[in-house]
């Protein structure tokens, strides 16, 4: 018997045990927790006004953040990979900063900038605008945290593809927009979708930065993850798990799509 024959099953079993302990079991707990007081409590927990508002707010954040980042990611990746200019590497590094900064710090930065005592605080009050403890703040914080996802997915992809195909398209008489639509976009669409999925997942799940700027006003500035935490702190475990289950289902859904996208990407 060779060594690999001994180690292979041991390693596989170990991996399965590990995954069960850290991934499957928690998901199972969420599922059990959500239905621990029956289906009615679960249903109520996800349809009562405060929950509905949290879901609504999260969706609003999602549909503002993701399209903006799609646009930003595409433009940034296009500019950074199809052209060579001074400061290019610096901008690439800059884009990754949100990965390195703790979300809580990110939230605090926005408080310092837009809070009542912040840099723009007075101006904002004078003009009757509220950023912190309101939707704009939540969106800003979410955008900060999710900024790298799409751009970072696209930059290496477009870098690897080079500029030959675009140049071929231009010499064949196509303009910039046609070239993007017919040549660049088809080549990056799966990568883009992948980035969008990651960005969406994070936009929905972001807790730290949002919790700092939102003020956690129930029914007003609570997103889904914040709502889960509040419910949990109030010992409403079944309700907390219900919302958590909803979020987990979305996460699983994105992972399935991600798998499909990855397969498509490999087939190309």
């Amino acid at each position: 018997m060779t060594e690999s024959k001994v180690y292979k099953p041991i390693l596989i079993v170990a991996a399965f045990l590990f995954l069960t302990l850290f991934l499957v079991l928690p998901l199972l707990i969420i599922f059990i927790g959500a239905f621990s007081q029956g289906f009615y409590v679960f249903w109520y927990s996800i349809t009562e006004p405060a929950a509905r508002h949290a879901i609504f707010l999260t969706i609003i954040v999602l549909i503002i953040t993701v399209p903006l980042h799609t646009l930003f990611g595409l433009t940034a990746a296009w500019a950074l990979t199809k052209f060579r200019f001074r400061g290019r590497q610096f901008i690439i590094t800059l884009i990754e900063i949100p990965f390195a900064i703790s979300p809580v710090i990110a939230g605090l930065i926005f408080i310092i900038l837009y809070g009542v005592n912040g840099f723009f605080g007075e101006w904002l009050i004078d003009n009757d605008l509220q950023v912190i403890f309101a939707l704009p703040g939540i969106i800003l914080a979410t955008m900060f945290v999710t900024l790298p996802f799409i751009a970072r997915e696209l930059i290496p992809l477009m870098e690897a593809q080079g500029t030959d195909a675009e140049e071929a398209s231009i010499t064949l008489g196509a303009g910039g927009f046609r070239t993007f639509y017919h040549v660049t976009f088809p080549a990056i669409k799966w990568g883009l979708l992948y980035g969008v999925i990651l960005c969406s997942a994070r936009a929905i799940g972001e807790f730290g930065a949002v919790s700092v700027v939102s003020g956690r006003i129930r029914g007003a500035t609570n997103t889904m993850p914040l709502h889960v935490e509040i419910l949990y702190n109030e010992y409403q475990f079944a309700s907390a798990f219900s919302i958590a289950l909803l979020m987990s289902l979305f996460a699983i859904f994105t992972i399935i799509i991600k798998q499909i996208v990855e397969r498509k990407q490999h087939l190309r």
């Binding site: 010499t171 064949l172 008489g173």
Partner: protein, 357 residues
């Protein structure tokens, strides 16, 4: 369409890549831009295509100044080394691309486009592959699709950037032949970039050799090979033996032996003589005094040709490379260690001061 390039300069950052390039390409010519890497040949091609801006100078297509026209409007067919096919489009859609992206008024009706694509597929001998995707084709087939795609727009000029560089030797040879035929059929003014001397000499009507952003020599392939105008050209186009010598009133003296050079020099000047390996005859016996005494140091067979390394017995004792046909070699029955006499059939000399590489 003829191309006139006037005083083109190109600087990347602070590095000059092209210096005062003047070049005329006549209508229907097949011209090779040949040079070592970094010589600026690809940059020149890209400038003609409009893919790169010039720092200074002008480009004319016929009498029209196109310097400030973008690549989109120049109507050039450009073929890339790595094909640059659109991977998500079928072969036929790749070829039709240039016809389909035209503005509505100048666009051909779909039926005509389909016809034209069929015609081009026939031209590049890929009739059966119209519905394939690029990744289902071999390298040579891909490059033929790229050519068909470039020809679809009836380009005024066809530009090819190392078109066969990524292909293996056998396919490369076939495509070279095929490109020549295609050029005869279409008559499009064609420029191609290559670093392969053999390819340039084989395919082109005219060869332009570039080095460090300057044109070193231009001429027909025969002209370029037979009469290199500088030591660089001698070294770059095929092998050459180098022998140092001095100019005397009788000719060129290399270690006491006097030779006749094709070029005249001032008496007393130091020169470097260049001899092609096949321009040396070799014999076992000394027949005249103008022969170099050598010892055979190695013999190397490459198919029908035999390369012989011989060490000179006198002077600087350099190695001399000699190229013989297999039959000649067998006739002489040469073995390593033989003492022989080498006669120089043809010698080109350059004064040492213009000797620089």
């Amino acid at each position: 369409m003829s191309i006139t390039i006037k005083d083109i300069n190109k600087v990347f950052g602070k590095t000059p890549v092209l210096k005062d390039i003047h070049l005329n390409v006549r209508q229907g010519e097949l011209l090779a831009l040949l040079g070592p890497s970094g010589s600026g040949k690809t940059t020149l091609l890209r400038i003609i295509a409009g893919l790169e801006h010039v720092t200074k100078g002008d480009i004319y297509f016929e009498d029209k100044n196109v310097t400030h026209e973008g690549a989109q409007d120049r109507s050039v067919g450009f073929v890339f080394q790595h094909y640059a096919l659109f991977p998500h489009m079928k072969v036929k859609d790749n070829i039709a691309y240039g016809l389909r992206v035209r503005k509505r008024k100048s666009r051909l009706p779909n039926v005509k486009i389909t016809e034209k694509v069929q015609e081009l597929l026939r031209l590049v001998k890929l009739e059966a592959f119209g519905d394939h995707y690029p990744n289902q084709l071999s390298g040579g087939q891909k490059q033929r699709v790229a050519l068909a795609r470039a020809l679809a727009i009836n380009p005024s000029v066809l530009l090819l950037d190392e078109p066969f560089g990524a292909l293996d030797a056998q396919v490369r040879k076939e495509l070279r032949k095929w490109l020549k035929t295609l050029h005869k059929q279409t008559g499009v003014t064609t420029l191609f970039v290559t670093h392969d001397q053999e390819e340039a000499l084989d395919v082109a009507d005219q060869v332009v050799v570039l080095k460090d952003g300057e044109i070193i020599q231009r001429g027909t392939p025969i002209n370029i090979y037979e009469s290199p105008n500088s030591p660089f050209m001698y070294r770059f186009l095929g092998n050459a033996n180098e022998l140092n010598g001095v100019v005397t009133k009788d000719g060129v003296s290399i270690d006491g032996l006097t030779f006749v050079s094709e070029w005249t020099h001032t008496i007393g000047a130091e020169i470097v003589g260049y001899i092609r390996p096949h321009e040396i005859s070799i014999s076992h016996t000394e027949s005249s005094e103008h022969q170099l005494a050598v010892t055979i140091s190695s013999i190397h067979h490459v198919g029908p040709v035999v390369f012989i390394e011989a060490k000179r017995k006198h002077g600087e004792k350099e190695n001399v490379e000699i190229e013989l046909s297999k039959s000649k070699f067998d006739e002489l029955s040469i073995r390593v260690g033989d003492h022989m006499y080498a006669r120089i059939d043809r010698l080109r000399t350059f004064e040492s001061e213009d000797y620089c590489i």
